[in-house]
């Protein structure tokens, strides 16, 4: 609980810093867009504009699509140069993106603070990038196996399916890792 309290305090401190908040926002948006692109829910458009809503949106919203943690789109939005599909994955992606954003923002905050302000190792925040990359790989499902020239067995499929929650857990872990290095009392002085 100490690490959680300390991390919460560190996040509050970081969110009081305008530049750190900007980094959180930028990283969150960048990761969300990357995630949506990686799972094919944000794709190049064909110049058309329009909206298509699934016939039974609530039923479709919770229906699994290509695999675990991949859900059926309920709205298709054509915006000329891009086409966006709204699904439960946007909310899942947003949750992970916020975790990534806070990780990166806190790392930035830690990096900017002098060590004398209660900050420990500044390099710990680099860990935040690793699970972010992992969850990016988790999006694409078995088709990414083509890149490695390997074939997907049932066991490997399970690994793919669990990359997303694993990366979410890792992001929480790295957040605690970075957060516990900030002494809120010293840093706030």
């Amino acid at each position: 609980m100490g690490a959680v309290r300390r991390t919460a305090g560190a996040v509050r401190l970081a969110l009081g810093d305008r530049r750190a908040v900007a980094v959180v926002g930028l990283a969150t948006v960048a990761y969300l867009l990357t995630y949506l692109y990686a799972i094919d829910k944000l794709t190049p458009g064909n110049g058309e504009f329009g909206l298509v809503v699934a016939a039974q949106p609530w039923e479709a919203f919770f229906r699994q699509g290509f695999g675990t943690f991949t859900y059926e789109p309920v709205a298709l939005v054509r915006l000329g140069v891009v086409t966006y599909q709204f699904s439960l994955n946007t909310l899942i992606g947003l949750a992970i993106a916020i975790l990534v954003g806070v990780n990166v923002g806190l790392s930035y905050f830690v990096w900017r603070q002098p060590a004398s302000c209660g900050v420990g190792s500044r390099s710990a925040g680099l860990f935040a990038g690793v699970p972010a990359l992992l969850s990016g790989a988790a999006c694409c499902g078995p088709i990414v196996a083509l890149i490695f020239g390997i074939q997907v067995t049932s066991g490997l499929l399970v690994v793919f399916e669990w990359l997303l929650p694993i990366s979410a857990l890792l992001l929480v872990g790295t957040l605690l890792l970075v957060g516990r290095q900030v002494d809120p009392v010293a840093a706030s002085q």
Binding site: D40, T43, N46, E48, V52, V53, A54, A55, Q56, P57, A60, R63, Q64, G65, F66, G67, T68, E72, P73, V74, A75, L76, T83, Q85, F86, C140, G141, P142, I143, V144, A145, L146, F148, G149, I150, Q151, V152, T153, S154, G155, L156, L157, V159, F160, E161
Partner: protein, 373 residues
Amino acid sequence: MTDRPSRRSFLVTVGAVTLAGCSSLVGGGSESVSRGEVSNVTVVGGEKPPNEPANAPPVSDRTLPVPVPLEELQSHAQDGGPPKDGIPSIDEPKFVSPGEVSGLADGSTVLAVTGPEPKAYPRRILVHHEIVNDEIDGTPVSVTYCPLTGTAQGFDRGETEFGVSGQLINNNLVMYDRELERWWPQIPAVSIPGPWHDTAGGVTLREFEVVRTTWGQWRSAYPETAVLSTDTGSARNYNRDPYGSRGYYESDETIFPNIYTDAEDQFHAKEWFYGARTAEGAAAFRRQRLHDEGVVRGSIGDRPVVAVHDPELDTAYVYRNPGEVSLDHEGDGVVTGDGERFAPDELPLDRIISFDAYWFAWFAYYPNTEVYA
């Protein structure tokens, strides 16, 4: 006459190293064999099983080959990722006229059914749904497409519907019927044992041909055609192919293991062949050769067959040719030795159902296939 094994050994090594500690999760299940080497090919079907429920899919009296006994075939079923119906079939299809179609380029692939009620099913839609439970000329049918093996096949469905099980065998779609929940791998068109229903399998489906052609060719040949509408009730992006956008169709690899891969490795895994199978065996005609020569003679087992190219749709038909009738391609038609001229799809011979398939998929199911390349 062989394909490149879908899994190159050095890449497996790289993959295994990449996934250090997970090597048991990689590959497995594929047996590399030379064509004709497999001796345990099984033949199934031919008899209507007793006590078939009225709403089960109509049974055919065809006898067809499968590469291994049915129980073993089931053991090769592999979770493809999506759950049952995670790839949703289209159960209430809507159709439009050619003039109402938008965004479908002339060169786009359509999967089409000829006959008194010609219908075109754009591949860009089927790649997302794989099965359309439709009715053609008063008969309930399912038009099916597997993106990973490139195969489009039509089946009578009776009063039930087919859905996508989420399972794959040889990377090929395994359908299930919604009456009994039996598993039906698409290419062999036969029921197999499965965990959702306790039957021995071995029932063959009534099948009809689905032509793979382009929208421009189809529209010019069948200007009155109906076209599957993008108004499917789904919010999927039909301008985006989830497999094509990641290079699957050009890749010499397959995503999942196959029962058999060709040890001689002469063809790209995704080389197009027209395949036909009967109780006597199977034959595969390379698309390019048929395109170039127009007529290719061959055999299935010891029975002579002939494949004829149809330039109008850039497709092919396979016929039994017991009398080894002499045929020559001339223009858009075929001329017999007697000087009679016929359209490629109207030869006075018994037609055998044929369909396009990627080489790896045809070989995986029919390792003893005759090959005309």
